[in-house]
Amino acid sequence: MDNPVLAFHRVRQVFNSDDEDDDVCVLDDVSFDIIPGQVTGLIGPDGAGKTTLMRLACGLLRPESGAIRVLGLDAVAESQAVQSVVGYMPQRFGLYEDLSVQENLDLYAELQNLPQKKRAARYTELMHMTGLAPFTARLAGQLSGGMKQKLGLACALLRAPRLLLLDEPTVGVDPVSRRELWAIVYRQVKEQGMSVLLSTAYLDEAERCHEVLLLHRGKLLGQGSPTDFSSKVQGRIFQVSAAGASRRQLQARLGQAPGVLDALVEGETVRLVMAQAGQPTVENLLPGLDEVFIQPAAPRFEDAFIALLKTRHEDTASPGKMDLHIDARDDDEVIQVHKLLRRFGDFIAVNNVSFQVRRGEIFGLLGANGAGKTTTFRMLCGLLPASGGELSVAGLDLHTARAEARRHIGYMAQKFSLYGDLSVTQNLRFFASAYGLRNHRQDERVAWAIDTFELADYGETNARDLSLGFKQRLSFAAALMHEPDILFLDEPTSGVDPLARREFWARTNALAEAGVTVLVTTHFMEEANYCDRLVIMAEGTVLAEGTPGEMKARARTVDNSDPTMEDAFIQLIEQREQDKNMEAVA
C-alpha cells in the first residue's frame, strides 16, 4: 500500500479562552490516514472542527498534542516545507477582489514558483477548464460567487500540487457551478494523480467522494466509503404518502410518530428514517388515516448521517408547535409584484419580475447567488425603492407606507443581524419594544420566544457567542415577537447544518399551518420541496413559476424519470443559455 499523503495521529486541539473552564476542545483524539489518488470528503455539521482540521493539515495551527504528517513531512516542525508543497483553498478563498482574474493568477504563479515558460500553457488550460477564459480582465470582486470559487480553485491548482486541501469550496455556490467544480476536481485526480481532501456541509456531495471522514463535535465518528455508511441504515428507509393529508401535515405527524428518527418532505412523499430496521405499520405511524402507502427506499448517505447524529444526542429541539394568534384578514393575494424593476447604475439587478403570493402560502424565490432574489426581497420589505413596476404587501408599498404598516411583517435577514453584544433576552426585549409591546405583553412574548425556541439556557449569553444554529433560532424568534401575518425569510438556512435546517423548516411549516404567509429565498434546491409555489430566478428575471411538482415534471426525461429540483434548475439554466446562443446566432 502507498504511504498515506496525510496522516493524523491522536491529534487534540483546544482553543484557550481567558477563563480556563471555558476552553473548547475543537478536535479530540483524531487519528486517520488518507491514501493517495482519491477524493476524501470531510463531512460534519457546523462547528464540528472541519476548518481547524484543514488548518492543522497545512501547518497554520499547532496541535495541542499528537502528530500530523503531510506527504511525509512533519506539519509542525517543517511547516514551511509543507506549505510549499500542498495546495490550499481556505473557506473564504483569499482572492484579491480589487485585482483582475489575470492579476490574481499572476500573483499566485509567482508565489508558487511556477516557472515563467510553463505559465502560458497552464493558464490556458485552467481558464478553459473553469470557463473563465472570457473574463481574465475582470476584477475578481465583480465575479459571481461560483466564478470566484472556480478562480480560487484555479489559483490553488496552478502548480498541480500532490495534495489539495479544499475547505467548503461549494458553500453558497449554485448547482451548475457546483457540478463544474466537482468535474475539475475529478479531472485533477484522474489526470495528475492528485489527492484531494475536501470539506463540505452538503451531504449529497459526500456520495461523490471515494472516502468520507465523518466529524462531529471534534470527534471522528467514522471513516469509510459512502456506501459503508449508508449500508448501516439499510432497511430503515421508507417513503410514505397518504391521500388524506398534505405533505406538510404528514411530515409534522410523522416527525412525532414513535420509532421515527427523521421525516423529510421529498417530492410528493415523505422520507422516513426509522430507528430500527423492519417495515413500520400504518397503525403505528399514522393512526386514523386511510390510503397510506409505505414503500422501502434505497438508503443514502444523508440518511446515515442523520441517523448517526440523531441517535447520538436527543437534545435537538422538537419543534412543530407554534402557538400564534394571527388575525388573518381575507384578502386573497397578500403580496403582489408586477413588472418590478431595479437598476444599479447600468446594471439591472431585477428585470420585469411578476408574481403573486396568496395568504397562508409558503412561497419560494429560488436562484443562484446574484440572481436578484435579495434585491427583490429588499424592495418588498421597503428597504430599497423600486426603479419601476408595482408592488404591494398587504395592499401597501412598504417603502412609502407609514411606519405602522410594518407592524404586519416579520423579517429575517440573510446573515445574522441581531445585536452581537447584547444578550439573547436583551435582543428579544429590544425587538418586542420596537414593535410597541409593553409591560405584561412584552414579558409574555419574551417568555414565549424563549420557551418555543428553547433558548432558556442561553438567556444571558451574548448573541455573538451563540453557535450558528442558535443564532438562527434567535433571529427567527425576534422576527416573530409581534406575531406578524407576513414573514420574509432571506436565505434563512444558508450555512446552517442539516439538523438545524430540518428544525427550521418544521417551524416554518407550523407557521404556515397557523395562517402566516411566508416568502422565503434559498439557494438549496431541495428546500424548494417545502414551498407551496415558487419562482426560479436567474440574472434578475423569472425563469419559471409553479409548484415544485410542476417544475420537476418539466424536467422529466427518458433517462431521468424522477428528477430532483436541482435537475429541474440546471435544465432551466441550460435552456436559457441555449436560447441566448440562438438569439446571438440569429
Binding site: G382, A403, E404, R406, R407, Q414, D421, F430, S433, G436
Partner: protein, 370 residues
C-alpha cells in the same frame, strides 16, 4: 413620536456600548490619560530655556544683569563661552537657544550714561519659541533699566507702561490650552461613538432589521443621539472636575451657561457624527470620515492658534466648526466669568449646526440604502 420606542432604542445603544469591557475602556480611559499628558505637554510657556553667555565685559553691571536673567525661572545659563566660534556650535547643535553677549564696554558705557548694548543671538528654527524667549528677556531688561535709572538718579522714559492682563493674570498658557483640550476630547469621543453607530449597524445588517420595524426615522435619530449626548455630558463633567481640581483652572462664570453650551455642542457633534455615519457604508469609511472632520475642526477651532490670524476665507470656514463656538464658551465661563448674555452669539450657531445635520442624518437613514 413614541417615547417607548425611543427609550427602547436608547437603552439598546447603551447596552451595546457598555456591556463590552473593551469598549467601556476605550470610551473612558484614553480621554483622561490624554487630558493629563497633553495638559502638561501642550504649553507655550518656556521654562529653563538653555542659555550661553559670552561675557567680554569685566564690570559689575553685566554680572548684575546676568544674575537677574539667571534668577528668572524662564532661563538657565548652561554655558559660559569665550570665542565667536563656540556661538555657532552651541546654537547649531541646539545645545542652547540663546546666546547673550554683553559687549566689552558694557559696564563702562552704562556708568557713563551712554546706551550699553546687549547682543543677543537666538535660534529661530522654532519662531514661536524664539519670539516668546525674546519677550521674556525684554521684560527682564526693562526691569533692569527702570531700577538702574532710579538708583542712579536718572529720569526714566517720560511715559511709563503699566501693563496688566485680565482673566489670565499670570498669562499661564495652561489656562488657555487645557479648556481647549476639554473641547477637543469631547469632540473626538462623541464623534467616534456616533460616527460608528449607524455604519456598524449597516455593516452588520442590523440596520435593515431596524428599518422593517415600525420605528420612525425621527425615533431612530433621537434614540441614536441620546447615548452620545448622555455619555458626552458625563464625560464633560468628569473632565471639567479634573480640570478645576488638578490644573487649578478657575470656574468664574455661570455653570448653567456652561452646561447649555455643552449640551448644544454635543447636539451639534452628535449631528455631524450621525450624518457621517449615515453617509458611510462601512466602519472604515466612517473612521476615515470622522478623521477628515476632526483634524480640520480642531485646527480651525482656535484651539492652538487664533482664528483672527487666519486668512479671511479660512475664517469663514471656521463658522461651520462647532468646536469654535464651544471653545469660546468654555474659556468664557472658566476664565472670563461669562454668563448667558455674553455667550448668546455662541449658542445659536451650534443649535443651527445641530438641527441641520440631524435632519440630514434622519433623511439619509431611509434614502441611502445601497
Amino acid at each position: 413620536m413614541n417615547f417607548l420606542h425611543i427609550f427602547a432604542l436608547a437603552r439598546k445603544e447603551f447596552l451595546a456600548l457598555m456591556r463590552d469591557k473593551r469598549s467601556r475602556i476605550i470610551i473612558i480611559v484614553p480621554p483622561i490619560v490624554q487630558l493629563f499628558i497633553f495638559g502638561f505637554a501642550a504649553t507655550y510657556d518656556l521654562n529653563d530655556v538653555p542659555v550661553a553667555v559670552y561675557n567680554e565685559d569685566s564690570g559689575g553691571a553685566s554680572r548684575e544683569l546676568l544674575a537677574r536673567i539667571e534668577g528668572s525661572p524662564h532661563f538657565s545659563i548652561l554655558h559660559k563661552i569665550s570665542s565667536d566660534a563656540e556661538i555657532s556650535t552651541l546654537i547649531d547643535t541646539r545645545k542652547v537657544l540663546l546666546v547673550i553677549r554683553p559687549g566689552q564696554r558694557f559696564s563702562a558705557d552704562l556708568q557713563r550714561g551712554s546706551p550699553a548694548s546687549l547682543q543677543l543671538i537666538i535660534d529661530g528654527r522654532n519662531s514661536n519659541t524664539a519670539m516668546i524667549a525674546l519677550n521674556y528677556l525684554r521684560n527682564v531688561v526693562l526691569d533692569f533699566n527702570g531700577e538702574w535709572q532710579r538708583e542712579h538718579g536718572q529720569t526714566g522714559p517720560p511715559v511709563k507702561l503699566e501693563m496688566r492682563a485680565w482673566y489670565n493674570e499670570n498669562l499661564q498658557s495652561q489656562w488657555f490650552v487645557v479648556p481647549g483640550i476639554v473641547g477637543s476630547l469631547m469632540l473626538v469621543v462623541t464623534l467616534l461613538v456616533t460616527a460608528l453607530s449607524v455604519a456598524r449597524e449597516r455593516e452588520q445588517g442590523t440596520f435593515d432589521q431596524l428599518l422593517v420595524t415600525p420605528l420612525r426615522p425621527v425615533e431612530i435619530l433621537v434614540g441614536k443621539a441620546a447615548p452620545g449626548i448622555v455619555i458626552g455630558l458625563l464625560e464633560a463633567t468628569l473632565i471639567i472636575v479634573l480640570m478645576v481640581w488638578f490644573f487649578d483652572i478657575p470656574l468664574r462664570g455661570s455653570i448653567p451657561a456652561l452646561y447649555l453650551g455643552i449640551l448644544l455642542f454635543l447636539v451639534a457633534t452628535v449631528g455631524v457624527g450621525l450624518m457621517i455615519s449615515s453617509i458611510c457604508v462601512t466602519q472604515q469609511q466612517a473612521i476615515l470620515g470622522a478623521f477628515l472632520f476632526i483634524v480640520p475642526a480642531v485646527i480651525l477651532s482656535g484651539f492652538t492658534t487664533p482664528i483672527a490670524n487666519m486668512p479671511e476665507f479660512v475664517q469663514w470656514l471656521t463658522y461651520l466648526d462647532p468646536l469654535r463656538y464651544f471653545l469660546v464658551i468654555v474659556r468664557g465661563v472658566t476664565l472670563e466669568g461669562d454668563g448667558f448674555v455674553l455667550l448668546l452669539h455662541q449658542f445659536w450657531p451650534m443649535a443651527i449646526i445641530g438641527a441641520v445635520t440631524l435632519v440630514l442624518a434622519g433623511w439619509l437613514f431611509r434614502h441611502r440604502m445601497y
